[in-house]
């Protein structure tokens, strides 16, 4: 019997996967149609796979019109998907199951290594679990890169009582979608990771804060939590939906929102590990951080730690987006160069024109010129180059990009999404837009560039959180690497 796999991931659906699945069902009612997660080869979506004796044969960019040809065996395939060089050359650890399984099938999950981490964790003491995570070198995948084990230890060492584990799934940064793919494509992995965290730190309640722009992720997660109930052992897990505020991806703002308040950033200290949600000790980790924990517990810290370079251990789930020919998920050990990702996996731009700039780490990350394509993806190497790896989102721009417009947008975005609590961010963002407008119209260019630099310094040093503190990063990088775009323009 033939099984057809048509992804249910919203990226695949955005280019017609539902219509393709319906066409298969109509063409041959005897087919078994599995709505799997996406493999992450997003430029090939909808990527349909047909089971065969050699493995799952893939067909890229399928439309309903291609269905009869695929079933008749006359359509051109991309071969066995698992052997596709783009995929086979990666080191998939967190995304090992992604796209292979039906995301909501408990049987699929268990048959593909699921629950091994939680089972092993429960045979260990809490301190041993935390030590394992610390030794793995796992750092927060949300962008800041704080060692996960140290955070956990702080919460574990707090006196017993009400403690929380919160998963930050408010993935608002442009160029990132790996969290969404986990929510939609492998939700049990995240649940398992949170259950391990809860066990390790002694938490009884957990929240997954998902942005409202991800309705598919919310629905999948809610259903998965219902089905995973028996594994949770009394750990009460709930999804909460954001309400369209970017700033709620900042951890303290997210806590305020979870408490039912305006998403205003809190001053730190106290850090959330001591006084977090409702004033209780709280572990806050990003989706990918928690989703990586089951693998670490199942395979041991050493296996994970052996991947990567310097202090960036393990793998990162890089996300290629923007104007890129082969956009999608590239999970590989830290240390791969930016150029290998953009030119190698990405295949350059979608428009075919030369790459001019790449923004790494989201809207608050630096614009990197092609002359720095030899930079290794490593937290510290990027920091040294005044850039950041962040959460591994990589957005490609071709030569038509106007970098002064991108710098202006960084301020415009900050002005629109600032929580308003601290002045450097609330007012500085608005002033930044005005100053760039003056520079571009040729009003006292040099003086205004000096004012802009001053403003960037003030925002970096004086803002409460990363929103105001990092908005200068894309701006400064645009000025430093693409100063020619800041010449006056003829109106």
């Amino acid at each position: 019997m033939t099984t057809v796999y048509v992804p249910r991931d919203s990226a695949a659906r955005s280019v017609g996967a539902d219509e393709v699945a319906a066409a298969f069902a109509e063409a041959d009612p005897s087919l078994t149609i599995v709505r799997n997660g996406s493999r992450g080869m997003l430029w090939l979506e909808p990527l349909v796979e047909i089971s065969s004796s050699e493995g799952r044969i893939g067909y890229g960019s399928v439309t309903p019109a291609d269905v009869p040809g695929i079933l008749a065996g006359t359509a051109e395939s991309i071969g066995v998907v698992d052997e596709h060089p783009w995929l086979a050359s990666q080191q998939r650890v967190t995304f090992a199951r992604m796209g292979r399984t039906d995301p909501l099938s408990v049987d699929d999950y268990l048959a593909n290594g699921g629950m091994a981490g939680l089972r092993r964790a429960r045979t260990m003491t809490r301190a041993e679990v935390v030590a394992e995570v610390t030794e793995s070198g796992l750092r927060g995948r949300g962008g800041a890169g704080f060692p996960a084990g140290i955070k956990w230890k702080t919460v574990m060492d707090c006196p017993d009582g009400l403690k929380f584990v919160c998963c930050n799934a408010d993935e608002g940064d442009s160029g990132t979608y790996a969290d969404r793919m986990v929510l939609e494509g492998d939700p049990f992995m995240l649940i398992e990771g949170m259950a391990i965290a809860a066990y390790a730190v002694g938490a009884t309640e957990g929240y997954i804060y998902i942005r409202s722009e991800y309705p598919d992720g919310i629905a999948t997660m809610r259903e998965a939590i219902k089905r995973a109930e028996p594994w949770l052992d009394g750990f009460n897990l709930e999804t909460r939906v954001g309400a369209g505020a970017y700033i709620c991806g900042e951890e303290t703002s997210m806590l305020e929102s979870l408490e039912g308040k305006r998403g205003m950033v809190r001053a730190k200290p106290p850090i959330p590990a001591f006084e977090g949600l409702f004033g209780k000790p709280t572990v806050i980790n990003n989706v990918l951080t928690l989703a990586t924990v089951p693998t670490i517990l199942a395979g041991g810290a050493d296996a994970y730690q052996s991947l990567g370079v310097e202090r960036s251990r393990g793998t990162q789930v890089f996300q290629l987006g923007g104007n890129v020919a082969r956009g999608g998920i590239v999970e590989t050990a830290f240390g791969i160069t930016l150029g290998e990702l953009v030119e190698g996996y990405g295949g350059g731009t979608r428009t075919g024109r030369p790459v001019r700039a790449v923004q790494v780490g989201g809207p608050l990350g630096a614009y990197v010129p092609t002359s720095q394509f030899d930079l290794p993806m490593d937290y510290e190497a990027f920091a040294k180059a005044n850039a950041m790896v962040g959460h591994g989102g990589i957005v490609v721009f071709d030569e038509s990009v106007d970098m002064a417009a991108q710098a202006r947008f960084a301020f415009e975005f900050c002005a629109a999404e600032s929580c308003g609590k601290c002045t450097p961010c609330r007012v500085g963002a608005v002033r930044g837009v005005e100053v760039i407008d003056r520079i571009r119209t040729g009003v006292d260019r040099d003086e205004n560039l000096a004012v802009l630099e001053d403003l960037c310094e003030l925002m970096t040093d004086g803002s409460l959180c990363a929103m105001g503190g990092l908005t200068p990063m894309p701006v400064r990088s645009a000025i430093n690497h693409f100063s020619e775009d800041f010449e006056a323009r003829q109106p």
Partner: protein
Amino acid sequence: MSEPPTSEPDRPRRKRREAAAPSPASLVDPAIAAPVRAAVAACREQRGNLIPILHEIQRTLGHVPEDAVPVLAEELNLSRAEVHGVITFYHDFKPSPVLGPKVQVCRAEACQAVGAEELFAAAPGLCGTVEQVFCLGNCALGPSVAIDGRVYGRMTASRLREVLA
């Protein structure tokens, strides 16, 4: 009133006046007050439940009317200012109902790199009200547009016209 009598001479008078004035919540049209109270009841067991309640009101009424504020304040024992502050902080809670499909065009960097600004400029001519949104998580297949929550990738003005037709 089971409170002990107070020695302050003006206190009983003030209390009487308060009791006589109808509460702001009681003046709200039942067509709004009833679904608002139902939303509160549905989320009663959740901690920090104001955001889930507001989502439920937005879902059932298509917006979060100003008249919901005194009802929520009474139900949740918050000040009206606090409730108003929360509602206006979040983009998802609309002060008035939006007619027609909800069209959100992504204007974030990844979609900008493939022409989102041009699409955003052209969209109002195709569908009336258009919201900007910063990232729909479809960054490899932009420009992205969400119509009533469903995401469409590799969007162009002509395809948007087709989808909305």
